[in-house]
Amino acid sequence: MTGIRNTVHAWLLVLPACVLLATFTHIPIVTTFIQSLYSTAKPRRPARFVGLENYEAMLADPIFWKSLWNNLIYAGVSVPISVALAIVMALFVNGKLRGRGFLRLAYFTPTVLPMIAVANIWLFFYNPQYGLVDQFLKPFGISGVNWLGSQDTALWCLIVVAIWKEAGFFMIFYLAALQQISPDLREAASIEGAGRWTFFWRVTFPLLMPTTLFVLVNAVINAFRLVDHIFVMTAGGPDNATSVLLFQIYIVGFKFFDQAYAATLTIVLLALLALLAIGQFLLADKRVHYQ
């Protein structure tokens, strides 16, 4: 009897979480998937079942491919760089140096600022004439580059903003992890005659692996999720050069009001993120050792 009572008790305890998750996550995913199999309802043409037609249209849509490709570049470049920078910054401010608190705060500031404000600041950094970037590069003979107005540079400019914004956030996790590492290990290593480089690769880095996994999963999700600055800085232009998946979903859903196609794109984004997360966990399972 107590067994059953325990089970009931346990289910009752998780019930609130289950209800919330189902209402805001699971049911929407299912309805989105169902919607992606129907055409968009219009007053004179109610929604009808179209099977995989929306998915076929998506495969034939050059802007979808462009957005996917842009997103992969965006994630592929911004994630490793921001994570590496986060480790370097964390190591730096973990050491004994003057003004440490101030430095930590400085590194963390971009995280606190709202993305829309950040985008507005960077918009003027990138101004081809009086922007900070232009002023900085002028002594090197580079001037008047239209950073955001050219297909070759616009996406890279947005990647830089993302790295700037994200690295400080990840640094906090690494900093917390570094402070968990016992100083005994360093002493032992120095007795053994290990250099700083060896110590980092053989001791610190492996001990940071659980944090790295956590940060990587978050960084990848953010690389697909963080699009606020695109609205402010380029609106996806020039000619879709800075359009990414989530941005495209917004355009299709709330500018074109084509809910069916937006649902289709959403399902693809979800599947992609799920695959990436599963892949990271499987791969990391072999490399990550929890203490």
Binding site: G149, A235, F256
Partner: protein, 429 residues
């Protein structure tokens, strides 16, 4: 804030069943969604109008609901309609006309126009503003916050370049020549002052309609189901725009920022710019030099697009509420209000009568630049307005951006855009 408090207090009083509650319950409530697209205390101005209207019209309560930019507002309105919570009225893009009629959510204004006085009122608006408010002889929208692009020029820069500071360019060829004289380089060869900037990263199609109209082309038909992006005159217009950067070197290459251009002008980095009249107040209060405002210089003739937002009245709400909304819209567009709104925001007043009011006369006497946009209206056409408007406009914008960044030749980009637009519009023939 004070008003909010008063309202919440009234609501509390009503809930508590205090005296006066019964009278309030009989009030007709009109909900109006509205966007804010220009600087300034727009929300406060709208709230003040609503309060003034309520005072003059007991029995009607106006509830203005600020809903973000145009895009967010139309998304919220359509969501509210689908959720069965239709508002009575909203200010939405004039160019969303076909979106709203295709979704079958708006009702013709003629349904409420009954008296000769109403008919006279409907006839007062500038025809250019009504162009994309009518379908098949029925008016679905009432012009309210309307704008049009103009050319701004820096008089100091004109003087320094040996040009007459009181005369802006009269046509495209003159603008090209002046831009050449106005482009200045510093010792290292970098440009320190551009001759001309016509923004191309946002509202690309809108400003471009100024160039095509000046070249004698029409981008779309009145039924909104045909476009002519591959018209040779349109291709010629893109080429002319691109040549300012590529051939003349008087305009920065690549896309030019819509948001940064007024600032470039204020900072003296651009001697002439094309921008909305909506920025007039901003430039006036921030520029440290004297500036002129003129018509968009055309390649063959004068021409400009109109833009901005209109009032729409929604279907599916009780007629008494629609009538109240209509009454409010009429009140909001009286000459006095239109003049006041124009002075406070920089939008073009929507009827000629507004320019005869004492308030407007006093304003334009002291600031004649404000009258240019009105005078240009006789050459103005509606901005690109089609079925599936956002989709068609995006296709067009993408092709223009590809051409302006030099990624694709103008004719190839526009021919593709034409094909894609025809595919999108094939169901509306």
């Amino acid at each position: 804030m004070a008003k909010l408090t008063r309202r919440s207090f009234a609501a509390l009083a009503l809930a508590a069943g205090m005296a006066g509650g019964a009278a309030n319950a009989a009030d007709v409530e009109v909900r109006m969604y509205f966007p804010v697209a220009v600087g300034g205390p727009v929300t406060k101005i709208i709230d003040d109008y609503a309060a003034a209207f309520e005072k003059e019209n007991p029995g009607i309560k106006i509830k203005p609901i600020y809903a973000g930019d145009y895009q967010q507002t139309v998304a919220k309105v359509l969501t509210a309609v689908k959720g069965g919570d239709t508002p009575e009225t909203a200010i939405l893009l004039a160019a969303d006309l076909f979106l709203l009629t295709d979704e079958d959510v708006v009702t013709p204004i003629e349904d409420f126009v009954k008296t000769p006085e109403d008919k006279a009122w409907l006839a007062t608006f500038y025809p250019a503003f009504l162009e994309n408010a009518k379908i098949g002889g029925k008016t679905y929208a009432i012009p309210f916050q309307r704008s049009t692009p103009v050319l701004y020029w820096n008089k100091d820069a004109f003087k320094a370049a040996g040009l007459d500071p009181n005369k802006g360019p009269a046509n495209w060829a003159e603008m090209r020549d002046m831009a050449k004289k106005l482009t200045k380089k510093d010792g290292s060869g970098a440009v320190s002052q551009w001759g001309i900037q016509i923004p191309s990263d946002g509202n690309t199609a809108w400003l471009f309609t100024g160039i095509t109209t000046g070249n004698g082309a029409r981008l779309t038909n009145a039924d909104g189901n045909k476009v002519s992006f591959d018209d040779p005159k349109v291709i010629e217009a893109v080429q002319a725009w691109y040549d300012l950067s590529k051939v003349d070197g008087t305009q920065p290459s690549g896309l030019i920022s819509w948001g940064a251009t007024p600032r470039d002008f204020i900072e003296g980095k651009a001697a002439m710019i094309w921008h909305t009249t909506g920025n007039l107040t901003n430039i006036k209060s921030n520029a440290k030099f004297d500036f002129g405002v003129g018509f968009l210089p055309g390649m063959k003739q004068n021409g400009a697009p109109t833009g901005g937002g209109n009032f729409y009245v929604f279907k599916g709400v009780p007629q008494a509420k629609q009538e109240a909304a209509f009454k409010f819209i009429k009140w909001m567009t009286t000459p006095e209000r239109a003049a006041d709104w124009s002075v406070k925001t920089g939008y073009v007043a929507t009827s000629p009568n507004a320019y005869d009011t004492p308030a407007m006369k006093a304003y334009t006497d002291g600031f004649p630049q404000a009258i240019v946009a009105r005078d240009q209206l006789k050459y103005a056409v509606s901005e690109l307005t089609t079925h599936e408007n956002q989709r068609v406009t995006k296709v067009f914008n993408d092709s223009l951006q590809a051409a302006m960044t030099g990624a694709r030749p103008a004719d190839a980009a526009l021919k593709d855009a034409q094909r894609e637009a025809e595919r999108i519009l094939k169901d509306f023939k």
